[in-house]
Assembly symmetry: C2
Amino acid sequence: MLQLRPISAECVARRAASACDSCGARAFSVCGGLAEQDLLRLDALAERINLRPGEALTRQGDPADHLFNITSGSVRVFGLMPDGRRQITGFLFSGDFLGLAAEADYAFSAEAIEPVTVCRFDAREYRALMLRTPALEAQLFRRMSHELTAARDQMMLLGRKTAVERLASFLLDLPTHDPARPTAPGHVRLPMTRSEIADYLGLTIETVSRALTRLKTTGVIRLLSLTELRIEQPDRLRAIAQGETRSCA
Amino acid sequence: MLQLRPISAECVARRAASACDSCGARAFSVCGGLAEQDLLRLDALAERINLRPGEALTRQGDPADHLFNITSGSVRVFGLMPDGRRQITGFLFSGDFLGLAAEADYAFSAEAIEPVTVCRFDAREYRALMLRTPALEAQLFRRMSHELTAARDQMMLLGRKTAVERLASFLLDLPTHDPARPTAPGHVRLPMTRSEIADYLGLTIETVSRALTRLKTTGVIRLLSLTELRIEQPDRLRAIAQGETRSCA
DNA sequence: CGCAGCCTTGACCATTATCAACGCTGGTGG
DNA sequence: CCACCAGCGTTGATAATGGTCAAGGCTGCG
């Protein structure tokens, strides 16, 4: 498995390089705190897997046997109701972890959006390694803490924000999580479909489309293509996201 | 501070006694895994505080200097938007932890609903103790993991469920978290106001009231008083919560 | 070139929010 | 002891946001 060694090194490098504004520096220092031998142990558990769009990493209800570290591409995490209603609870990008649950079964499904490469770990072995590696445990602790804060922000969005406010919040958040975003400031890549955005924001595709149009016609954003746009007026977009204006409602 | 010793023992006992259906057994074993000397160290950091309804444990934006363990009563955790819109992200009851964040500042506010007693820890000392106490770390790791799963379920509720489905889900969930619930099966205590329920479910008080009335008139629940009700048809309530019926829509 | 899939736009509808009035309940003071 | 008041909850009428249904457009691929 020695040929796998570059994988976790790559994970660490990507996460360090990612400008996750709120946690970049911290994540880097934690990753940096992992000793060379810890990385080697991680590699021994790792398996590299390629997934095509739509293929599943985890399925709601299946035994939680694996942990994943996304190496490239993007992933949707979602739950389904019996009648097919879908709620996407998050998008994952390279550097993100998946499957960090204490439960025996996955509570949610995860599927590739774009072609994805992941680093897959056996959950039991990973947990055992974690117990022996405080730096790794601390790293995951911080990640879970950030995820929890993000989850609460998302509750605020879903419970109390209007359609336009939700979309504005989404457009501001997305590039801070996607290391594959374009380098030009204000440029946002949308690797997911309108349907996925809708299921993430608790809306329908039509409402997402209309909200985008409204932001476009008011000059706050410019659509460069279906999957790329530019934020023309960041301050106004922030104001809208926080509900500080009725000008766009 | 020796007189504080009973506090964490009490916390442990309460958590163990609570029939948190999904995690009760596990939480108990983890708490049981704490050695006597770990409990003593915890006590040395602990300070008992009483709060009256409406008083704050944490405030959005304040430095996150403390951790809390609720000993009795109930607490609302919430975020506010600039214009006053409120989203309650969770209710906490005796045995629950608060303030487990890696961030420097509290991201959300927490206030007492009923008269509350808490066990307050200095965050830095607690973290230091955690590093020296793997059992404590593992316990918190599990709790965070459960919270994360609960947060995702709540996203499903807020993003995709109807008003009646939200209320049904809430009534089923609440007693599994509230150790002070009445002992009679099917009895649910509502220590929070309609306004708090509304802000938790992403609705208005009027819609909460109407949804309760609908569940009452269809015979699924019976209102015993403003703050207490009985679930008459648990299976039907579960079906409604999962959206498996249109009979109540 | 044509088709399939996704996106946008429009017309209409439904759920829920808003506004308003009324009722209940518990505490206070005449 | 009863009346009043304040606060919370319920109910009703109306309005608005977002959902549903439907048609048409764009884009990329065979």
